[in-house]
């Protein structure tokens, strides 16, 4: 076979992973593979199979949104916030982008032996403040301690429940060709702030954007009840959200790269570290898919909110090239956006 003759010479590829690799947690293709091969098939049910940011359950006539997330970020304190604040806002946001008003959170700690109690107190205080800010109580929880070395200081899991108002039909299955794609503000703030802090880069003026989006979502839905879908682009960045939606619902997406809002210090840090901002995590931003005719109204409603001042329309859903996300580059060229295999590694050269 010509194939084998030409290629039998190439170095033998490493076979499929037999162990968990750090890339399995990156939000890229390795993560998808793990979910698709091992988790979804084993646990399949209609609510899970919808694969949205939260599950939608019908309980006694009401629609309850239920979501969970774990927070393992290191360092636990970073410019702009800490793991406690992240743990509340992240779960609130997974509910909010489904149109669910957050009702209650659970909170589980896994603490490493030796963690200074002062650090724990700080995290608890952050959780308290974040939950007060949103008005969502922590109603149940758990605390475990493991030996030194078995956890990285503190791991947190939060789960949340919320109520989706009757008549609100949100979800990525609602997205249609022609829809406008909006972002609520500047991208890559969180991931870059954490990376720069970790690598000791003193670039000034970099801070996580961690914030609860429930009020922004409420304002958007009031002005624009015909929003089709929203997502919060966390791990894997804006790219992960767009690529996943395009692939799952066989839609084409076209984005104007120059229209994507990004702060100068963040852009500079991305250049220095060799990272694509589209792949970097956000913790206080949403992506919304709205009917084209509602674009201006939707943008105006977000821009009137403190967390949506830099909201922008970055592109649209199209009928052409289904499953492909295409970017118009700032100089007039085109490229296709895809997910990396694992962690986007900074380039060396």
């Amino acid at each position: 076979m010509a194939d084998a003759a030409a290629l039998g010479a190439c170095p033998v590829p490493i076979g499929e992973a037999e162990r968990v690799l750090i890339g399995h947690g990156s939000g890229g293709k390795l993560t998808s593979e793990l979910l698709e091969r091992m988790i979804f098939p084993a646990l399949s049910n209609p609510a899970l199979d919808a694969r949205d940011d939260h599950a939608l359950l019908s309980i006694g006539g009401a629609r309850i949104a239920f979501t969970t997330d774990s927070y393992v970020i290191s360092p636990i304190v970073f410019p702009g916030g800490d793991i406690g604040e992240l743990a509340v806002n992240g779960t609130v946001n997974d509910l909010a982008v489904g149109g669910a008003w957050p009702i209650a959170l659970s909170l589980s700690f896994i603490l490493e032996e030796g963690l200074p109690l002062a650090d724990l107190a700080r995290v608890i205080e952050s959780v308290r403040r974040a939950s007060m800010r949103v008005g969502v109580p922590i109603v149940t929880g758990d605390t475990k301690v493991v030996e030194r070395g078995s956890a990285d200081r503190i791991f947190i899991n939060t789960s949340g429940v919320g109520v989706v108002p009757a008549g609100l039909e949100l979800g990525s299955a609602q997205i249609r060709p022609g829809d406008a794609i909006l972002v609520s503000g500047t991208i890559a703030d969180h991931g870059i702030a954490v990376m720069a802090h970790r690598t000791g880069l003193e670039l000034g003026d970099l801070a996580s954007d961690t914030a609860p989006l429930h009020a922004l979502v409420a304002a958007l839905l009031r002005a624009c009840p015909d929003v089709h879908a929203m997502r919060d682009p966390t791990r894997g960045g804006l790219a992960a959200t767009l690529v996943e939606i395009a692939a799952r619902h066989r839609l084409g997406i076209e984005i104007e790269e120059a229209a994507i809002p990004i702060r100068d210090p963040v852009r500079g840090a991305c250049e220095l570290l060799g990272l694509d901002p589209l792949l970097v995590a956000n913790e206080g931003k949403l992506v919304a898919f709205v009917p084209a005719a509602s674009t201006d109204r939707a943008l105006a409603s977000m821009r009137a909110q403190p967390l949506g001042r830099h909201a922008a329309c970055i592109g649209s859903v199209v009928a052409r090239h289904p499953t492909i996300v295409e970017l118009a580059t700032p100089i007039g060229g085109r490229r296709i956006l895809d997910l990396p295999y694992a962690e986007p590694l900074p380039r060396i050269c």
Binding site: A2, D3, A6, L7, G8, A9, C10, P11, V12, P13, I14, A17, R19, V20, L21, I22, G23, K29, L30, E33, T199, D264, R267, E271, H321, I324, E326, T329, P330, I331, G332, G333, R334, R335, I336, L337, D338, P340, Y341, A342, E343, L345, P346, R347, I348, C349
Partner: protein
């Protein structure tokens, strides 16, 4: 002026594209050597904006791709040695050797750490005096000076538990090798801007004169790349073959003398085997006698390295610009970033990875 936006300006690009279109009267094959340039071209979609007569081929400018399999295997063996902290740039972690890669080694318990600078690795050695710290030093002339500095400091400050596995490669011999190949199609080069910032442009003058090929020393932003293409196209059309520096804000003819002095202090030029291409004489650096105590190749006896890689490899044809990634029958099907068959797909700087990442699928499957 922030030295970014001006060189990404759409109007400035459009003007240069116009000049290029005016200048071209027949087909030309142009190679850019540097992986960073390959990526920028694909990231901005530049190659598709050029006139059809111009074919851009991508050279062996990815140090990760061309690191010899034996060196990779040696790195894995050292990383698996008890008590070793193995420090590397992120890119090298996924490169498959004969049996494994560094990420998988780490999952099995090896202490492998990502660093952003060789000086971070030196710091690890100072902070862990009971461990042996090894830094994986690959790259072109661009990264070699920092590695030389780390070794100079290590020796001066008696950081005896620090060593380096060095496998640097040099660009000019690679260009000569490409031009000497009987199936060579390349007529002009976009020279590596950051390599020349270190070395200066002298070696490229010799190449241009000897092989009669125009070379434009080029940067990495869209405007820079178009300046480079314009310069070589004009030369090709009028039949001249000289070196032009179109990256003047960074490159001077003599390069960086302090960096070159550091290189001379620590490294000897040596023959080197380039993965996918083969042996190229005097095409690499190795740590010299004076610094032997910090040469991981001599410090660690990992026994016989039995590599598993036959003579020919399609990656080699891609690295020399004879084939495009999309010409390879396995590209995008059997060979993807998840299941790389060759070096050019493994490395983020490699041409195949760049093509794949920016959506160039096998011929016939290309949607754009």
């Amino acid at each position: 002026m922030n030295y970014l936006d001006e060189y990404r300006d759409a109007k400035a690009c459009a003007i240069r594209l116009g000049w290029i279109r005016e200048a071209v009267t027949r087909p030309h094959v142009i190679m850019e050597v540097c992986g960073g340039q390959t990526h920028a071209i694909l990231r901005y979609g530049l190659d598709r904006m050029l006139p059809r007569e111009l074919e851009l081929v991508h050279g062996p400018g990815c140090p990760v791709c061309v690191t010899a399999l034996e060196t990779i295997d040696r790195a894995h063996a050292i990383a698996a040695t008890p008590g070793v902290i193995f420090a590397s740039f992120g890119d090298m972690l996924r490169v498959p050797g004969s049996r494994t890669d560094l990420l998988a080694s780490r999952a099995r318990g090896a202490d492998v750490r990502v660093v952003y600078s060789p000086l971070d690795a030196l710091e690890l050695a100072r902070a862990n005096p009971d461990r042996r710290v090894v830094f994986f030093a690959i790259g072109f002339e661009t990264t070699a000076p920092a590695n030389a500095m780390a070794l100079i400091r290590a020796r001066r400050e008696h950081v005896d538990n620090f060593s380096m596995l060095a496998s640097h490669v040099l660009v000019p011999p690679a260009i000569a090798s490409i031009l000497q190949a009987p199936d060579n199609r390349v007529e002009a080069f976009l020279g590596p801007g950051h390599v020349c910032a270190i070395t200066g442009t002298g070696a490229y003058e010799s190449l241009a004169a000897h092989f009669r090929v125009p070379i434009a020393i080029t940067g990495f932003e869209p405007v820079d790349l178009l300046d480079g293409v314009l310069a070589v196209v004009r030369q090709l059309e009028r039949g001249t073959a000289t070196v032009e520096n179109v990256y003047r804000r960074t490159v001077s003819p003599d390069g960086n003398r302090a960096a070159c002095a550091a290189l001379a202090e620590v490294f000897d030029v040596t023959d080197r085997s380039w993965r996918g291409i083969g042996a190229i004489p005097r095409s690499g650096y190795r740590i010299n006698e004076a610094y032997r105590a910090h040469d991981a190749e001599r410090v660690f006896d990992v026994g016989e390295i039995a590599t598993r890689e036959p003579e020919a490899c399609v990656s080699g044809l891609v690295l020399r610009g004879v084939k495009k990634p999309s010409d390879c029958p396995a590209f995008g099907t059997r060979c993807t970033p998840q299941t790389p068959l060759g070096a050019t797909m493994v490395s983020a700087e490699g041409a195949c990875a760049a093509y794949y990442q920016h959506g160039r699928r096998p011929r016939g499957g290309d949607p754009a």
